[in-house]
Subunit: 624 residues, 2 copies
């Protein structure tokens, strides 16, 4: 529910509403942006009666204007129908009634929201009815965080042995959305419970398309001043969802007669404004990007600018170069020895700046070669050298690093060729080619890098990828997801559940003086599944040793603080794989090398074998 | 291995062959059609030595002509390479060597066969290497029926507790082919063992693309005349495979020095010629057909001819009509009472003939109306009436049954509108419309029909369906299987494993005098998985009560003997689903009815939920 830039507070009244205009007015006065409300006037039709069905069953759609409907009202669909009844009469009647309600809600609300409550896992036919509608609006599926049966049991304290009978409401949602083919029209209205589920259950919900949170008024307790407040645990829960949703919507479920309506909305507004989003990458969340190919394409000015804005990266490079200079030049050689530093792929100069700063800080003399093939960047470099660094010993080489034959060899070779997955911008191939510029005792910065992967559930990302190949006609099921699913992406993953911690994949070290350099790789890694979930792909990361203990990392468990240059990589699976708690996930990744291109292939072997994605690099490759 | 119309006997020698021409000669003299033979001359290269690799490692391809190679030789690929070794040096060397062998074999054998032995389940990288080749020929994967380790254990009698350690070689095959994306280039060379596995394991193999059987010479025992023969159990095993493979290939695995070479081939030829295939439907196996739409299209003469050739169907109709006539007309009314029989959809007259025969046999008088809309069939009917039945009381009505307003109503309404899935040619809709022709006490023949489904594994059918949507360029992975997978087919299923017995789905009865006729249906059925396998879709059948105890059935457990008019229906799943022993398979089927069309939708809910196939009938529907 991300209409507009602010958080939304909704009133979810339990009773039927008579005078809609008056109630909207009352809701607004109590500080709510929207209200959940049934469009059906009476409940007569919910009983099995096949007569009277053509009777006017709902409010007239002209009592509000179209915009008023979608801005103020979330249409609550009756959840008392049993579309999956084994009794055909009940089922057929339910289908008809539900269908009518959904159709009317979509007619009235148009591009707004409807709400339908799930009450169990047997929803195959319900999911069919919902799927067969061409909904214009979004459908929120109301799901409790915890099986309501377990809460009743807690209150009644009927022995702990019954716990096996409780269902996991996540399975209700998962079955429904799987049957509904992961439709992006569906999102979750997640109802908080007095018992807060385990951390892992919460993080799994945070990987799902949660559209809003429902807070039953019973969760509010009275503070010392007799104001209704939420427990610390519930506050934190709500705030943790706010972090993954750019704009959060919260519904208060209560009676219209509740005297504290105003206090609830005030409290929630205050809570949600407490932690404004400070993520510098805000706005990039869950956007699919195709990885850069800086070797094949020339980067543009905007891309350089984004890279150069990283507050951390060049400082680490500077530290690494400084450390290397100190190692190479002893204190008593400072005056006599000049270190040759070559920056391969100098871009618009940030690594030159790091090198010059390192030389200044360490007091070492350097002779700097700036090698760059992009003619637009060379222009910028020349200006920098002429205007800022005219007193420095810098030589600009306007060449592809593979074609440069230097007058002298380097002590230190500095490069920034790493991609989100470490080697994916062909750093191994480039540096192997460039190490002819390096003395046999020379240092490469970076000296080593390793890629990592972990299994991920994200129906959001699954849908983004699927949409890439959607046909122009929206009436047909998406029919060619394959090409786009067999592709590597770069994505700032937010709305995703990380099924297990990353495992190391491929490592490269530089310089590599071995006789036969083979940059192809193959590795199989395994993960444990801690909770039922759905595997939709693998996230990729890397870390790199620039020099000795100077390390840059986007590995989630060791991420360099403030480092902003790289979003994770993502390798999708063509079809989502249902995982059960305790199952092993085993995947194989290949880095394949041909004379003109490099590419990755990947497949699953456990819990079920998949075909090999991107076989022969047909769908995605990095060109040399 | 179905080159030509005859069975093939091959010699699978265990040693390396020096003089190829001479050995081929010797093989032929001993009665073998082909021989399995390595193309590699020496085994030096199999060791880890990265030198000498450009050396000429194999036979020259010019020692035989191209046709000679593919007609006489099955190229054995060395199975000593370990492409999945955790040791990178071994793996890389193995990859290189194997790749070279496969490439050379495919170069030499071209459109013939190669053979590669699987020795375990860890074959992810092996499967990748094989998949990445654009093989022209077929690759036979040699797989033992029973884990060789278990046989060794039997001989050594090292306690029965070890059985948990034995692997199921079907899993070796399944993992390999799943990783290789169910490539239709792969088939199985199934090696028989002295222990014959359980019946279910055998039937599962018979659902797989078995290209040939391998009989190790050790399985032959000496009969009283000292000739090598196979045990009755092994004979039956081989013959049971012959039934599902139109042309069977059998390889004898032995030494060239074995003195009984000639006897083995003689014995096998004799065995295989013993039971010639007498299936009248021979040649229709596993061919995909789109179900007829006789209501929408006019059938052609060939189709009528095929239907009329059924030796059983019209006899059952005749019996049913006879029984109905006897029930309607008591003995003492024979002379006075004339029964009105209407045949709706008379085609070229077979049901008229059944009716006339029934009248003659029962001695009842009938007045016959023949209603037919197809102008070409009407022509044939008029000739029949004029020439054969000019003395009978027959009236020909050249109309759609829905438009006919009869001068009198029928006592018996006879129709043959049933499809492979019972109602799928819209019999319910047609007969509901036609029952206005029937007296309130009248009889409909058929009076009732029920559809059935069961879960099926068939990678052959999966590939046939996938191929429907293959792109013209064979270099890319098939990219749009969806449309074709969300379609109902008719298919004479042979190379398929039936995972469980059929369950009843939809039932219709006629006449249906209820106030509101609803021919939409929804049903969920469940099955048990008895053994690990792969679900690729559901086969569909029907049975019909023509009248009282006269039943026609294509349900496999009650199939009417000799009935040949209907092949099973088939409902594919878009993606194969791996099943484990003991897992429940739950599926839901819908019969959906709109004013202009009827269609089926289907989905899986256990063991994993699938999307709803053919939602809204977008991919396949039957038009009214």
């Amino acid at each position: 529910m991300q209409s507009g830039q602010k958080n939304t507070i909704c009133l979810y009244s339990q009773e039927s509403v008579n005078d809609l205009r008056a109630t909207i007015q009352q809701t607004k006065e109590n500080g709510y942006d929207m209200m959940v409300c049934s469009l059906v006037v009476s409940k007569v039709n919910n009983m099995i009666s096949l007569t009277n069905e053509e009777r006017n069953f709902s409010r007239s759609d002209i009592i509000l204007e179209s915009q008023e409907w979608s801005n103020n009202i979330i249409a609550k669909i009756n959840d008392e129908f049993d579309c999956d009844s084994e009794n055909d009469a009940i089922r057929l009647h339910s289908e008809k009634m539900l269908s009518r309600e959904i159709d009317f809600a979509d007619h009235v609300i148009t591009y707004g929201f409807s709400l339908l409550k799930l009450t169990g896992a047997q929803t195959t036919n319900l999911a069919r009815i919902v799927s067969s509608k061409q909904l214009k609006g979004q459908l929120l599926l109301e799901v409790p965080m915890v099986d309501p049966k377990s809460l009743v049991a807690t209150w009644c304290t009927t022995g702990p042995n019954d716990s096996a009978e409780y269902e996991d409401p996540w399975n209700w949602w998962n079955t429904f959305r799987s049957t509904a083919d992961f439709s992006s029209k569906l999102s979750i209205a997640l109802e908080l419970s007095s018992d807060i589920p385990s951390k892992i259950e919460i993080t799994r919900w945070q990987g799902e398309p949660v559209g809003c949170l429902i807070v039953p008024s019973q969760l509010f307790v009275r503070n010392n001043n007799n104001y209704p407040v939420l427990s610390r645990a519930h506050q934190n829960l709500i705030l943790s969802f706010k972090e993954i949703m750019s704009n959060i919507a919260v519904m208060v479920k209560c009676n219209m007669e509740d005297g504290s309506l105003r206090y609830y909305s005030d409290y929630l507004k205050n809570l949600l404004s407490r932690n404004p989003n400070t993520d510098p990458m805000y706005g990039f969340d869950d956007i699919l990007e195709t990885p850069l190919q800086p070797l094949y394409d020339n980067l543009d000015g905007y891309t350089y600018e984004v890279f150069e804005a990283d507050p951390i990266k060049y400082l680490y490079y500077q530290k690494a170069i400084e450390k290397a200079l100190i190692d190479l030049v002893k204190e008593d050689e400072i005056e006599t020895k000049t270190t040759v530093v070559m920056v391969v792929g100098a871009g618009r100069g940030p690594l030159l700046r790091s090198s010059l700063n390192a030389a200044a800080k360490s007091g070492r003399k350097i002779k700097l070669y700036a090698i760059e093939k992009n003619p637009h960047a060379i222009n910028s470099l020349q200006s920098l050298i002429d205007e800022l660094w005219s007193d420095k010993d810098i030589e600009l080489i306007a060449k592809d690093m593979r074609d440069f034959h230097p007058p002298e060899k380097a002590d230190i070779l500095v490069s920034e060729l790493l991609g989100s997955f470490g080697d994916n911008e062909l750093s191994p191939e480039c540096l192997d080619g460039a190490q002819k510029l390096l003395k046999p005792t020379g240092i490469s910065i970076p000296s080593k890098y390793t890629s990592y992967i972990n299994p991920v559930m994200s129906s959001r990302v699954y849908n983004l990828i699927r949409r890439c190949s959607e046909r122009s006609t929206p009436r047909e099921r998406i029919t060619t997801p394959q090409n786009h699913a067999e592709h590597m992406y770069v994505i700032y993953l937010k709305n995703a559940y990380h099924i297990a911690s990353p495992e190391a994949l491929f490592t490269f070290e530089h310089p590599n003086w071995s006789d036969r350099i083979d940059n192809s790789r193959f590795k199989t890694v395994s993960f444990e599944t801690e909770i039922d979930c759905v595997l939709t792909g693998f996230a990729g990361y890397f870390d790199t040793v620039l020099y000795k203990d100077i390390v840059l990392s986007i590995h989630p468990l060791s991420h360099s603080k403030g480092l902003a240059s790289w979003f994770p990589a993502f390798f999708p699976l063509m079809e989502p794989v249902q995982l059960r708690k305790g199952e092993k996930v085993t995947t194989s990744f290949w880095r394949c090398v041909a004379p003109n291109k490099v590419w990755y292939e990947w497949c699953l072997s456990k819990p079920i074998p998949s075909h090999i994605h991107n076989l022969k690099g047909i769908h995605y490759a990095i060109y040399l």
